[in-house]
């Protein structure tokens, strides 16, 4: 690309966190995270075919399989959001926007779970 060479310094000038040298180091990290996400996927599938209720304590009342699957999914989500979306080194402005999202998302989930525990709905057992 002959036309692009002259722009090299221009692109890199944008912000020093993302200089070409820094980016080169990051590429290796992106590939490693990609590999970790693939492993995480196989791990989730493997875990789904094991009955953790028989292995872990309190299996009658706690659905361990759901907990294990969600822990793996959260770990994978952290890798994507943290590194691919650069959230571990973002500007303050983005964090303040996302703080609202985290709060309302957590509220939504807590209300959902809370409503389940305090529901008076009688389920018809077929």
């Amino acid at each position: 690309m002959s036309h692009s060479t002259s722009h090299a310094a221009h692109v890199a000038h944008d912000d020093h966190d993302h200089s070409p040298e820094e980016i080169k180091k990051h590429v290796r990290r992106y590939l490693l995270i990609g590999a970790a996400l693939m492993i995480g996927t196989f791990l989730t599938v493997w875990a789904a075919f094991i009955d953790f209720g028989k292995i872990l304590p309190g299996g009658e009342s706690v659905n361990w399989n759901v907990i294990v699957a969600l822990i793996i999914a959260c770990a994978k989500g952290f890798l994507v959001a943290g590194f691919f979306m650069h959230l571990i080194s973002e500007k303050k402005m983005i964090y303040s926007v996302l703080a609202f999202t985290v709060f309302f998302f957590a509220a939504l989930m807590i209300l959902t779970i809370w409503s389940m525990e305090h529901s008076n709905i009688i389920h018809l057992q077929s």
Partner: protein, 286 residues
């Protein structure tokens, strides 16, 4: 008029405006999918015992699609990194793979969807539940593939590799047993593939439908969640394609703005991947 801070960071936020914009949008997207996940939880917990299917979708296809989306997320971030290193050709190659991954994902998703529309459950008047694909050549009555599910005329219906449950007295109990079915990839599931065909008269049919969104609350939330996600895949791939192809000349005019566009479209793509990371275990595995 030039739009301010489209390229240069705004002094107070330290960011170019599009980045603030995409994050505000992604924040609203998280709430949109969050509301649907909340609906999923309530539907699942509220489902009468034995009516919520487990391991009912094809796990191998779901896992393959997860791998495809993760691979595309890696190529998106590598494409952006290539632009930062001024390697336009590499960027072109990586985004071409991303678009290809999006196409593979959508192809597999449509195969999965198509199978659900071909898959029927018949509840017969004596309580028997028959489940499987209709042999349209051997059947003498036309069975609709869309609502309303009503049979017109008399005739026989032939189901290929039928899964027939008649152990219990009521259709509801037989249906519950059917939903519990063997886990895919298990020995029982493989044996089930060799089941014989099953034939019955249309006059015996009490109720029936295919496994479209109308079948039960599980298929309703399954089609809603994955359908909305699939729309995001299509939308994201279109934007990435537009920047990659028709708008590629922007790179020559303003490489920083071009790189920013790639970054913003990439952030959206990662969110699409992130949502699928949760959808896969929730719908396919739990």
């Amino acid at each position: 008029m030039e739009i301010p801070y489209a390229v240069k960071p705004r002094p107070d936020t330290g960011l170019y405006n599009a980045k603030v914009g995409i994050w505000l949008f992604l924040a609203s997207e998280v709430m949109l999918f969050g509301a649907l996940f909340s609906s999923y939880i309530l539907l699942r917990v509220g489902a009468p015992a034995g009516t919520w299917p487990h391991h009912w979708l094809n796990v191998l296809l779901g896992m393959f699609n997860t791998i495809v989306l993760i691979a595309s997320s890696v190529t998106v971030v590598l494409a952006w990194a290539s632009l930062k290193m001024n390697q336009f050709n590499k960027y072109r190659m990586y985004q071409a793979i991303t678009i290809l991954c999006a196409l593979i994902f959508m192809t597999i998703k449509s195969i999965e969807y198509g199978d659900k529309f071909k898959h029927y459950e018949f509840q017969l008047k004596d309580g028997t539940v028959v489940d499987g694909h209709i042999d349209r050549e051997k059947s003498t009555v036309k069975v609709p593939a869309w609502i309303p599910f009503k049979l017109h005329g008399e005739g026989k219906i032939v189901i290929e590799h039928a899964n027939v449950v008649k152990k219990h007295k009521t259709a509801a109990e037989n249906h519950a047993e059917l939903m519990e079915g063997p886990a895919p990839l298990s020995k029982e599931a493989k044996e089930a593939e060799e089941r014989p065909e099953y034939e019955f008269e249309s006059s015996q049919v009490q109720a029936f439908s295919n496994y479209g969104p109308w079948h039960n609350t599980y298929t309703a939330i399954y089609f809603t969640l994955t359908g909305l996600h699939a729309l995001h895949v299509v939308g994201g791939a279109l934007v990435i394609f537009m920047i990659w192809g028709p708008l590629a000349s922007v790179w020559r005019k303003d490489p920083v703005q071009y790189t920013n566009r790639v970054e913003v479209s990439g952030l959206f793509w990662h969110l699409v991947d992130l949502v699928w990371i949760f959808l896969f275990p929730v719908l396919y595995l739990l």
